[in-house]
Structures are given as structure tokens and as C-alpha cells.
């Protein structure tokens, strides 16, 4: 399935958001995720089924002012 993750194209055999994150070795403790502009809570990632060409954002804490 074709996915755009943080602006980059990926071809991944992932059925759910949790699987996609695991395949790309994202560490899970502090991440926030959104699919197609909607927040997907940490607890819902394993049940969130992906579709071809979904756009995924994976954010983490960063310095800010």
C-alpha cells in the first residue's frame, strides 16, 4: 500500500497505523499521529486501518519558543 508519511512516499505492507509505525521503527512513547488531517490517539493506532494513499503525520517533541 502506498502511504505518505511526513511528506515522504512509502510502499508498506501495513494494515494499521500501528503496523506502519512499527515497520518504520518509530518509537512509540512520545509520538502524536494524524491520518489525513485527523488526530489518531495512541490507543487507537492498532485499530486504525489504513487505506491506499493515506497521508500520515508523525510528530514528536521539539524545542520551541
Amino acid at each position: 500500500m502506498k502511504l505518505t508519511i511526513n511528506g515522504e512516499e512509502h510502499e508498506l505492507p501495513a494494515a494499521t497505523l500501528a503496523e506502519a509505525l512499527a515497520l518504520l521503527e518509530y518509537e512509540d512513547d512520545w509520538l502524536a499521529t494524524a491520518v489525513n488531517g485527523e488526530l489518531v490517539h495512541r490507543a487507537d493506532r492498532a485499530n486504525h486501518h489504513l487505506r491506499d494513499r493515506d497521508r500520515i503525520e508523525v510528530l514528536s517533541p521539539m524545542q520551541g519558543g
Partner: protein, 257 residues
């Protein structure tokens, strides 16, 4: 001490965490500033990346409260989604709401700001809006559910200091019971003291500390200036006058000729 959304703070200085020479210098500046609120952000994590986690661990070890921001958001939808993602990561309802309207000045899009504030307060967020010194916008933000206002004093990162003292003074007078934080544009401790002398409750700054040759020492200098300005406001400042007034009594002056 100031209360923001029912939380009483130990310090009137809110410190940003960006642009320090090293994580160690950030940590030292935070400690020496005495602040108990630092601002943080969210950015894309790289696959397998550890940068976000390492930074978050550092902040946790500092034992301060975090105020996540929506820096760089130029639309209501971006800001709202970023706020929700920040709540997921940082487990706080606090959000420093930025909706940027102008690329060069980073002036807030005040129309989008009010709209985003209304959406977020409706979802339980406690919003700290980065706004201008416009009183009408301030009124709308309060109507939208904000209980704190954060007017700029100059463009973000400019270090220009307060550009419109009368505007800041008017906002203080118009909203005597609303916690007011000057955010953005502070360059020197004297700038911070000046706005605190107007009766502001706190100052949020970042670049002036992070960009100093000795960030930790500058953080402490700001903390002292902010306390001095606050104390001076409550001590009652003299109003300037046009003519000289002798400070030494004239009565009893010797006559030598």
C-alpha cells in the same frame, strides 16, 4: 504570584526552549531562570528517530510545566490539529496558540486566532493566545473562552523591545483582572522590566536568552529584571514631569551672600 488557569506559578518568567547552543545550556538556563513554565513544540519525527524522545526526557528532568505551542501554523485547521497532537504528547490542556498571518513579521492572524481559540476552548483546552495589542481582538479572545492573553511587544525574535507602550498600557487598563503575559520581541532585561512596570503579570521570551553569549547568566538577569519591574509597579512609580523639582528641601538653605 500569577495564576494561569488556576495554577499558581513561582516565577513570572516563561522561557522558550529553542535555539540554545546545547541541551546542557538549555537546562542550565532553565534552572538559573527559576522559571516553572517552558514552551515546547512539535515537529515531524524521522523514522527510527530519537530526537524527540531525547528532548522530552530532558524537559521532564527539569521538573517544569510545559506549554506546547502551535508555532508555524498559518491556518485554523493546522493550529487546531497541532494543538490536539500536542495534548496527546505532552498530556496537558495548556496550549500556546499561534496562528501566523504574515510571513515577514510573524504577526498573528487575529481572525484565525479567535476562531481557533473558540474551537479549542470548546474542546477543553486552556488557551494562551499569542496576539497583538489590539483591544477588540483581546475582547473577542476572552469571549472565545481564553482566560489569559499574550500580546506581542515586537515581532518574534526581533529583540526590538516594546514598540507600542501605549497599546500595552491600554490593554492592562482595559483588562485589570485578566492575566497578561508579554510574548515575543523582548531583547533585553530592561525591555522586560519596562513591560512589567506597566503591570503585566509575566513575560515569555526565548531568543534573548538562547542567543546570549552566556544563556544561563542572561536567564538570571531577565528573572531579576522581571521581578524588579513587578515590584516597581506595585511600589507606585512616579509620573514624569516637564519641569525640574528640587529633591533636596529648599527651606533652611544657607545664604552665603
Amino acid at each position: 504570584m500569577p495564576q494561569f488557569y488556576g495554577t499558581e506559578l513561582r516565577s513570572r518568567l516563561l522561557l522558550g526552549t529553542a535555539r540554545y547552543p546545547s541541551p546542557a545550556s538549555l537546562a542550565e538556563a532553565v534552572r538559573r531562570s527559576g522559571t516553572d513554565i517552558v514552551t515546547v513544540s512539535l515537529r515531524r519525527e524521522t523514522a527510527g528517530g530519537r530526537s524527540g524522545g531525547a528532548f522530552f526526557e530532558l524537559v521532564r528532568e527539569l521538573g517544569v510545566r510545559v506549554l506546547p505551542n502551535t508555532a508555524g501554523c498559518h491556518s485554523v485547521s493546522e493550529a487546531v490539529l497541532t494543538a490536539k497532537m500536542a495534548r496527546e504528547v505532552f498530556s496537558t490542556d495548556w496550549i500556546k496558540l499561534e496562528v501566523i498571518g504574515h510571513h515577514d513579521t510573524l504577526q498573528p492572524d487575529v481572525f484565525g486566532l479567535v476562531e481557533a481559540a473558540r474551537i479549542l476552548t470548546g474542546e477543553g483546552f486552556e488557551v494562551f493566545p499569542y496576539t497583538t495589542d489590539d483591544l477588540v481582538v483581546a475582547e473577542r479572545l476572552l469571549e472565545a473562552g481564553c482566560k489569559v492573553l499574550m500580546p506581542w511587544c515586537a515581532p518574534i525574535g526581533s529583540a526590538m523591545g516594546p514598540q507600542n507602550l501605549q497599546g500595552l498600557r491600554a490593554m492592562r487598563a482595559e483588562f485589570p483582572d485578566v492575566p497578561l503575559i508579554v510574548d515575543a520581541g523582548i531583547g533585553r532585561p530592561s525591555h522586560a522590566a519596562t513591560v512589567m512596570e506597566l503591570g503585566y503579570d509575566a513575560v515569555l521570551l526565548n531568543t534573548a536568552v538562547a542567543g546570549a553569549a552566556d544563556p544561563a547568566a542572561m536567564a538570571e538577569a531577565f528573572a531579576k529584571a522581571i521581578e524588579a519591574g513587578h515590584m516597581a509597579f506595585h511600589a507606585g512609580l512616579l509620573e514624569p514631569r516637564d519641569m525640574a523639582v528640587p529633591s533636596t528641601p529648599v527651606i533652611g538653605k544657607a545664604v552665603f551672600s
